[in-house]
């Protein structure tokens, strides 16, 4: 009779290290907030006290335009009467080059979202299973297990899984500071590069997201040039994740790396790669349209062979090809999307301004980088986690703590705004207002109405006790918020 412990050990031995480990990163706090939301999701009528999801970077503001187009264009579907004559051809189409019209339409769309200042070659467009699949494929192409990519912090937590989990590649953080608006400086890059070498991690590339997730900022021309010059000089790859390219609004302008390389003499284009997707710009994450655009012929060739592991459904390729070829629709969509993003952003920022809550000035992306450093008891990540738990479980807003983005400084939170309607935004702002006024009451001296003040203080204290018991519940398998997976040697050295 085999004991349970031995059986479990045997079980683990039968699975690979990749499967039995935590490389998927889902024990991070990033996902715990999602779980809280899933257990009690907000609904204006059915669950008005539920958790409002502000941790999901989705663009839901222009779904009506898309829906209208699909209804008005039944020929874009291969299943309707108008499109079924194409059904069999499309259903058997599994060529990893992708439908030519799909590649052409995506190339054109990428040009439009860069204000037609650059041209994209449809033959360099390679499909992947969303940007998730694209990043993993690029890592497989550019790096061997044990190699490293430099990544400026704060960065999208999913990179820990996408770039590292099955590839064995390391991520080496490039520390950015709030003191200069989280700019990526050459000093920080050099510093990170040196540290990697000292830790015996061969650096193979630099991955940057522009516009930035979670900051919502765009890189200016000078900064972009300095990044290209840095990677060019070090002879390492530059991977530009431009998934939020069309989400700039207001005064903000998006400059693609594709544009900048035209202006740099002796730029080795074999080192330049762009990751893209339609999940954010068009709000179509369910359709899994990921794109790798590389200037390196060999990478295009091999990534294309690897795309067999995550091709875009031909049914979807065809729909997208039709939709993106409708230039009038695309122009209207991009224009309207920017206006609606700007409006929702303004609503949130006006509300936060009124409450004296700071946020990083930025005009891109589907989120805000909110500054709650002054609400921390101590300038530590433990304090940030404590505050975050209060926000999730008592204020009932699922926002994402900066630690989960590997932010160097505690107290920052990413707050998404494009995945909700106006009423929900109002409710969220109201809850923040109530919360901050409660905090103000807390810090008010006990004066004219001592009984009331004492009572209020009691409430806050009991809330605190609640948060401690929550901590115990989450301690099982909960890693420190800024290292959701066993950290690379470099991160350990820093902390």
């Amino acid at each position: 009779m085999v004991s349970l412990a031995t059986e479990k050990k045997q079980d683990l031995n039968l699975l690979s290290r990749i499967a039995s480990g935590d490389g998927h990163g889902e024990n991070s706090s990033y996902f715990e907030g999602w779980k809280a939301y899933e257990e009690n999701p907000f609904h204006p009528i059915d669950r008005p006290d539920g958790v409002i999801q502000m941790g999901l970077a989705e663009n839901q503001l222009c779904g009506d335009l898309m829906r209208k187009w699909v209804i008005e264009h039944p020929e874009a579907s291969i299943c309707t009467e108008q499109g079924v004559n194409q059904f069999s051809d499309i259903a058997i189409f599994q060529d990893y080059h992708g439908l030519p019209e799909f590649r052409q339409a995506v190339a054109k769309f990428m040009e439009k979202t860069r204000n037609n200042r650059v041209k994209f070659d449809p033959d360099r467009i390679v499909m992947s299973g969303g940007a998730t699949g694209a990043h993993e494929t690029v890592a497989f192409c550019l790096a061997n297990p044990g190699d490293g990519f430099l990544v400026p912090t704060p960065y999208y937590p999913g990179f820990d899984r996408d770039l590292r989990w099955r590839t064995g590649v390391n991520l080496v953080p490039v520390t950015c500071h709030s003191s200069d608006g989280f700019k990526i400086t050459v000093e920080a890059l050099e510093d990170a590069y040196e540290k990697a070498l000292l830790s015996n991690i061969p650096v193979k590339g630099l991955l940057m997201t522009n516009p930035s997730n979670p900051l919502g900022t765009t890189l200016d021309r000078e900064c972009l040039k300095s990044l290209v010059n840095f990677t060019n000089e070090k002879r390492i790859h530059l991977i530009a994740d431009e998934i939020y390219a069309a989400t700039t609004f207001g005064q903000s302008e998006f400059i693609s790396v594709a544009e900048v390389i035209e202006e740099i003499e002796d730029c080795n284009r074999d080192l330049i790669h762009i990751v893209y997707s339609l999940s954010k710009d068009m709000g179509l994450p369910g359709f899994r349209v990921g794109i790798i655009y590389s200037y390196n012929d060999r990478v295009v060739q091999i990534a294309r062979k690897m795309s067999s592991f995550g091709l875009v459904s031909s049914q979807t390729q065809r729909l997208i090809a039709k939709m993106l070829s409708d230039e009038d629709f695309v122009d209207e969509f991009i224009r309207e999307s920017k206006l609606r993003l700007a409006a929702r952003h303004k609503e949130l920022t006006t509300g936060l301004d009124g409450l004296g809550i700071g946020w990083l000035k930025a005009e891109a992306g589907l989120f805000l980088w909110m500054d709650l450093r002054n609400l921390l008891k101590t300038a530590t990540f433990d304090s940030e986690t404590e505050l975050w738990r209060v926000i999730v479980h008592q204020v009932k807003l699922n926002v994402s703590p900066g630690g989960s983005f590997h932010c160097h400084e505690p107290g920052w939170f990413r707050v998404c705004f494009a995945n909700m309607d106006h009423k929900t935004m109002e409710t969220a702002l109201e809850r923040i207002r109530v919360f901050t006024s409660q905090l103000e009451e807390e810090t008010k001296p006990v004066a004219a109405a001592p009984m009331m003040a004492k009572k209020k203080k009691k409430c806050w204290q009991s809330n605190l006790r609640l948060s401690f018991s929550d901590k115990r519940r989450f301690d099982d398998g909960f890693f420190s918020p800024h290292s959701p997976v066993p950290p690379s040697p470099l991160v350990r050295a820093q902390t």
Binding site: S77, C79, G129, V299, Q315
Partner: protein, 470 residues
């Protein structure tokens, strides 16, 4: 070159094999009845193009599913945002029930144990990542689908070791072959993590017998390793026999809900049975919670488009459609296979008696100059470049005996098939062997028929129509 990974600089993608080169040649000069009647006929592509009319007629009768509506209302926005890697519950339920129907409803599939993937290409790779470390080995019976070299090994670093099967017993898996493969792994200091079989087999076109399945389950039990059964062709069974899944065997051996059952995994896809390879619908079915959990997370790298999930959940939930489809599909495949087999016989060519799949495993050993793989490649080149038929040489499927070829029959019209057979007959007649045939054609056909009958008799003796075969 150091700037790229070894995965890029090596040829682990396996696409320099003749299997893929034949496809490339086809791309350069594809046959078309009207515009290119002398072009190359594609017989190297295992696609099922026989039943699109059935699906198209279903679409015409189901406008809601066809236009992404529910109760007349567009649900486009909901679908556009659905990216939950658990997949659509209604789709997984429909897949589970379809898989049950294909197995005569003798076994049940729990939708919660299904993990969706972007085609079985992705499903097989994901399972490898879950079960094997780089350098670990899986045993595969030869001949096997050439794509496995890429899918199982390329990015995972896993190894494949062959379980040698031979024509002497119809390429069936024997205990001796299993043991020999395992010992070979030990000699090479490779840790064996499991066995992977395709059932029905690609390229053989035969379903595994109950004897073979029992052997496999016993083998993995004794070695404490995994068994992956790629059942992608399960709905293409057209022979007299019923399709026996590894799940049937677990049930019959009363091994359900045991530790062994947690090491048996099924891979499936809608690419062959429904003829929808473009839609990228693959699935892993596992009784091991940890594998389901890990594979589900990995499916983020290759989810099924929500648009496709919605359409297919409606299609597969229509039980009237699925039962009619499966029956008609089998009829058409059987008829097409017969057409190919009799056409080959007329050219003096026999094939392994098949009862499933979209292809036949054809015996052209008598056409080789010498019993070598060089001679096989020479013959293949003649057939590709002179006869203009793209068929797949056995060596690309790692067959241990030269002279066997996989010839597909379900990806073309009857007329095209007839033309291909005509070209082949002309070619054979022009060779020395062909001249022999025409001189003593009567004698030869008589002996061919005998051979065919004895093949049939041989396989029937192993089938489960013999009641005490357990």
């Amino acid at each position: 070159m150091k700037q790229l990974s070894t995965k890029v600089t090596s040829n682990g993608h396996g696409q320099d094999s003749s299997y893929f080169l034949g496809w490339e040649e086809y791309e350069k000069n594809p046959y078309d009845e009207i515009t290119n009647p002398n072009g190359m006929i594609q017989m190297g592509l295992a696609e099922n193009q026989l039943c699109f009319d059935l699906i198209e007629s279903w679409l015409a009768k189901n406008p809601d599913a066809a236009s992404l509506k529910r109760n007349g209302q567009s649900i486009f926005k909901e679908l556009a945002l659905f990216q939950d890697y658990h997949g659509m519950p209604e789709f997984k339920k429909a897949m589970a029930e379809f898989m049950e129907e294909i197995r005569g409803n003798r076994v049940t599939f729990d939708p919660k144990k299904i993990v969706l993937a972007a085609g079985s290409t992705s499903a097989n790779e994901t399972l490898m990542f879950c079960l094997a470390e780089p350098g670990d080995a899986f045993l595969l019976p030869t001949p096997y689908y050439p794509g496995f070299d890429r899918d199982l090994k390329w990015r995972t670093g896993a190894e494949i070791l062959p379980i040698h099967c031979s024509s002497s017993n119809g390429f069936q898996i024997t205990e001796a072959a299993l043991q020999q493969a395992y010992q070979q792994a030990q000699k090479l200091d490779l840790k064996v993590k499991g066995v992977l079989v395709t059932n029905p087999s690609n390229p053989l076109g035969t379903a595994l017998t109950r004897r073979e399945l029992n052997l496999l389950v016993d083998f993995i039990t004794s070695k404490n390793i995994h068994l992956i059964s790629d059942e992608i062709y399960s709905g293409t069974m057209f022979g007299f026999e019923q399709f026996i899944s590894v799940m049937d065997v677990l049930k019959d051996k009363k091994l359900e809900n045991t530790e062994v059952s947690k090491r048996v995994h099924v891979v499936y896809s809608l690419s062959k049975d429904l003829g929808l390879p473009g839609f990228r619908v693959g699935a892993i079915y596992s009784n091991d919670e940890m594998i389901v959990s890990a594979a589900t997370k990995m499916s983020s790298f290759g989810l099924v488009s929500s648009q496709t999930q919605y359409l297919l959940s409606a299609l597969l939930s229509d039980k009237k459609f699925t039962s009619q489809y499966l029956e008609e599909n089998q009829k058409r495949l059987k008829s097409r296979q017969r057409r190919l087999v009799s056409g080959l016989e007329a050219a003096g060519i026999t094939s392994l008696r098949s009862n499933a799949g979209l292809f036949c495993w054809v015996d052209m050993r008598h056409l080789l100059d010498t019993n070598t793989f060089e001679a096989e490649l020479e013959l293949w080149k003649k057939i590709v470049y002179n006869v203009k038929l793209n068929i797949s040489p056995g060596s690309s499927c790692h067959c241990t005996e030269p002279g066997w070829f996989r010839v597909c029959f379900a990806n073309m019209s009857e007329d095209t098939l007839d033309l291909a057979l005509k070209r082949l007959k002309t070619f054979v007649e022009s060779t020395d062997c062909g001249r022999m045939i025409s001189r003593s054609s009567h004698e030869r056909l008589k002996s061919l028929r005998k051979k065919t009958v004895s093949n049939w008799v041989f396989r029937v003796s192993w089938s489960d129509r013999v009641p005490d075969e357990r």
